[in-house]
Symmetry: C2
Subunit: 259 residues, 2 copies
């Protein structure tokens, strides 16, 4: 780790590679967390819904890794399975453990609402590969937002217990929301050339969407306060290490899976 806190453990981590990795890692880690609900969801219908959402996210990760790998000369599996935690670029909110169902739903809403705005804006990217990925991803995340919002309203406007759990989840997650809109120097170069949307400018639309859902859910928007940061540069919680240990076990035991 350099003194600036920046870590470049991925070969040729140019701003464009970094941009693809950040989105790919977001999708894969949240996809992994979402898949953990399969076989544990409160309803069979919800098992299928969450498993489908996990599939969408893992699918998004694959095409984003393919774009990054086309530049660095790595395969999607090398990028997914052979990087240690400091080389991961996902926002910290993705890696937090699922906790209870309310927590997972509140996270899915917060993240998907931001992703949906990002992908919608990215359909106009000057990078043809990114624009094509965005066009498909936007349709998927639009559904993820609707699904999570319906559940959050059901939880918030449900029993005293479900309301309390939903509010606790929101309060715990809120400090992780700032990272979804961070823009650094690497992003800036790409924003100026029309490759990347300016994530910072998506915040007002996200606020409006979240406020609308919270009102319907009779939940209180947490006060703004100190925000967590660091995931985009590879400074992660201990939870990512545990998740990677599980996710990467097979590839590390059988490198290249050439069996």
């Amino acid at each position: 780790m350099t003194s600036s806190g920046a870590v470049a453990l991925v070969a040729h981590e140019t701003p464009l590679v970094l941009a693809f990795l950040r989105r790919a890692d977001d999708a894969l880690i949240l996809g992994h967390r979402t898949s953990e609900w399969t076989g544990r969801a409160p309803l069979l219908e919800e098992e299928l819904a969450l498993a489908n959402i996990a599939l969408d996210l893992i699918g998004q990760a694959r095409v984003l890794y393919a774009e990054a790998g086309a530049i660095t000369g790595q395969t999607e599996d090398q990028l997914a399975y052979l990087r240690d935690a400091p080389a991961w670029r996902n926002a910290l909110i993705m890696e937090l453990p699922n906790d209870d169902f309310a927590f997972s739903i509140a996270r899915l809403l917060m993240v998907s609402a931001a992703s949906d705005l990002f992908w919608r804006a990215a359909t106009a990217s000057t990078h043809a590969g990114l624009a094509a990925i965005a066009a498909k991803a936007e349709k998927e995340t639009a559904y993820h937002v609707r699904h999570a919002a319906e559940w959050l309203v059901r939880l918030g406007d449900g029993t005293a217990e479900s309301h309390r759990r939903a509010q606790d989840a929101l309060d715990a997650l809120w400090p992780y929301s700032g990272e979804l809109f961070e823009v650094d120097a690497a992003d800036r170069a790409l924003i100026d050339t029309g490759v990347l949307p300016d994530a910072g400018r998506l915040r007002p639309a996200w606020d409006a969407a979240i406020n609308d859902t919270l009102a319907r859910a009779t939940l209180t928007r947490p006060s703004p306060g100190w925000m967590q940061s660091g995931g985009r540069l590879g400074r992660h919680t201990e939870h990512l290490g545990h998740l990677l240990a599980e996710m990467q076990f097979m590839q590390r035991v059988y490198p290249g899976a050439t069996w």
Copy 2:
């Protein structure tokens, strides 16, 4: 448990209800086991494939539970989440832990090859609901067979290590294959009226399909021997109890999930 070993913990467990439950439980338990690979598979592409297979199986379980529940007056979620192990009717092979990748693939092949033959035959069922379910399920299981067979050939005809693991998996699984073709008195009544295919008569076609794949995989078919039994009557391994504890936790904490 009665002295005959038969357990009827499901309300109104007529032969038809039992037939639906046996197939539904097979699909849900194997779907659960398959979903456990999400986030742990050796390749990203394989994560998606296994997650899709799990989705197919859980989807099959839902429609089968709906048919059973229409007779007993229970919902699919009551059937999936509120029965204790002795009321489960799946074949024992479904509930065995995943062990290594070779074991999971060998099981998927053995089970899917039997299911595919069953569903294909059941498309001619005199029960319109079962025939409709079978028409969709057969397309899905045909793909599961192809996917598992491709992998088993890759493993068996791969490295010395992958060959050994695949052979060990086959040997361990073989005693559980007999249950896939069991026919009891409850089935017989439905077979005679054209509702159910005669599972026992599917065995030669299964043998041929398995032998063909094993030959391509350079694997040795295990010798016939003593066969496990009991799952169809509710006598399960300890593994089912652990699986149900995880799967049913949410519904039992929040009955009806009315939050």
